[in-house]
């Protein structure tokens, strides 16, 4: 067991310099790698991508301590295989590479929870995906800017709001589970989330 030396899922919100805004070269490198994987089944690009993202997927799997180390490893493999299979559908104009990987990891984790709980369902998370459609280029531009602004906003949120978002998104806790764990009334949790989302909406409409 590796001891965690830094904070768990919740990053300090004051430290806004820590949040990557995906205009930088670093993030573009991952978008490029994904495009190479999608267009030419580039194994070298996939390997670079794996070395960067697999440790993050494992951290995601272990946050909230709901999966064992064995299941976390299984999740890493499942997610990385899906990355390989779905890379052709990645559009760097529309999504940041990290958001794209996050949605795959989120879906695989949900499916794994359901399998572990012997949840009997005809549906898998992939069924929830929407058929992609062509979008107007101004919408795509809007999307790209929105994605950058979300990351800027995350750096500016008060710690109490950031903490709850981390619980919900990384640890996979519903609002009521987050409320129970933090010993807060459900209404407080909901209003903190709502405040954060309102800022986001204000940014998007600006």
């Amino acid at each position: 067991m590796v001891e965690k030396t830094t904070q768990s899922a919740a990053p300090p919100a004051q430290n806004s310099g820590k949040w990557n805004v995906p205009t930088g070269r670093r993030t573009d490198e991952w978008s490029q790698a994904l495009v190479s994987v999608g267009e030419s089944q580039d194994r070298a690009a996939f390997t670079r991508f794996f070395r960067h993202f697999a440790p993050l997927i494992k951290a995601f799997a272990l946050s909230g301590s709901s999966l064992s180390a064995t299941h976390a490893d299984e999740l890493v493999q499942e997610v990385m295989l899906k990355v390989w299979q779905k890379a052709g559908g990645f559009n760097p104009e529309k999504a940041a590479a990290s958001t794209w990987v996050y949605t795959i990891a989120r879906n695989c984790r949900t499916d794994m929870f359901r399998r572990l709980q012997k949840f009997d369902t005809p549906l898998a998370s992939d069924d929830f995906e929407l058929e992609s459609e062509e979008e107007e280029s101004f919408i795509v531009l809007h999307t790209r800017r929105g994605s950058e602004r979300v990351r800027e906003l995350m750096g500016e949120l008060p710690p109490d709001q950031a903490q709850i978002l981390a619980k919900v998104y990384m640890e996979g806790k519903s609002h009521s589970e987050a409320a129970a764990e933090l010993d807060l009334p459900l209404g407080t949790v909901k209003s903190r989330v709502r405040l954060a989302i309102q800022k986001l909406q204000a940014l998007m409409e600006a």
């Binding site: 990987v101 005809p122 990384m170 996979g172």
Partner: protein, 217 residues
């Protein structure tokens, strides 16, 4: 044009992947009608992406990389394809649950103008059902023990607070009393997700209450 949308906290829980299966399916079905909410969900997913890239990386050995590389040429799992007969105006996910035509479903007649068909999602806490209301037909005034999400799939209805058309998403809490009436001209089909059975409030319909149980699963 869709006018009624899920509240922001449902969309957030949806983007974080923490909504229960039945509710999540209802929100996903709304998204297939609503570009506005699709864009909001994309931004809400960016919150996930932003947190994800800040996680404290956990060591992953090269043996795992080798195992994954060895499996890259495995055939991809088969994906569900729409059947020829399916109604292509229906969200893909519902198409899959309905698996054919509305007429092939088992409909349970509750009143003269209301029939209900229960669909299986595997969610044991929520009922996931299609409500079919004859044109101009009324669902007697009722409340819910819990919350109700409704998505209009075809036709439309109105109640004390507005008029709803395909793609519109309505949330009601337990204490809201309402009397939906289908619009004239076409039968109305809605998806309803409940966490407690509905309760008719008027004396002449109350005898139905013991007959209505939550059909989750």
């Amino acid at each position: 044009m869709v006018k009624h949308h899920p509240p922001a906290d449902f969309l957030t829980e949806y983007a974080a992947g923490v909504l229960p299966m039945a509710q999540s399916a209802c929100v996903a079905a709304h998204l297939s009608y609503c570009q506005r909410c699709r864009h909001i969900v994309e931004r809400l997913e960016d919150i996930g992406g932003a947190h994800f890239e800040q996680l404290d990386p956990q060591p992953v050995g090269d043996s795992m990389l080798d195992r994954v590389l060895a499996r890259l040429d495995d055939p991809e799992p088969l994906r569900y394809a729409r059947s020829e007969a399916s109604d292509d105006r229906l969200p893909g996910l519902l198409d899959r649950l309905i698996n054919g035509d509305y007429a092939d479903l088992a409909w349970k007649r509750v009143t003269q103008s209301l029939s209900i068909s229960y669909l299986k999602t595997g969610d044991l806490e929520h009922e996931f059902a299609l409500y079919r209301i004859a044109e101009g037909g009324k669902i007697p005034e009722h409340t819910h023990g819990g919350s109700e999400m409704t998505l209009v799939l075809s036709g439309g209805f109105s109640d004390e607070s507005g008029e709803y058309h395909p793609g519109d998403f309505i949330v009601r809490e337990g204490w809201d009393k309402h009397t939906p009436v289908a619009l004239e001209g076409e039968e109305c089909i809605c998806l309803a997700v409940l966490d407690a059975p509905l309760r008719f409030t008027r004396l002449r319909h109350r005898w139905l209450n013991p007959l209505i149980k939550l059909n989750a699963g």
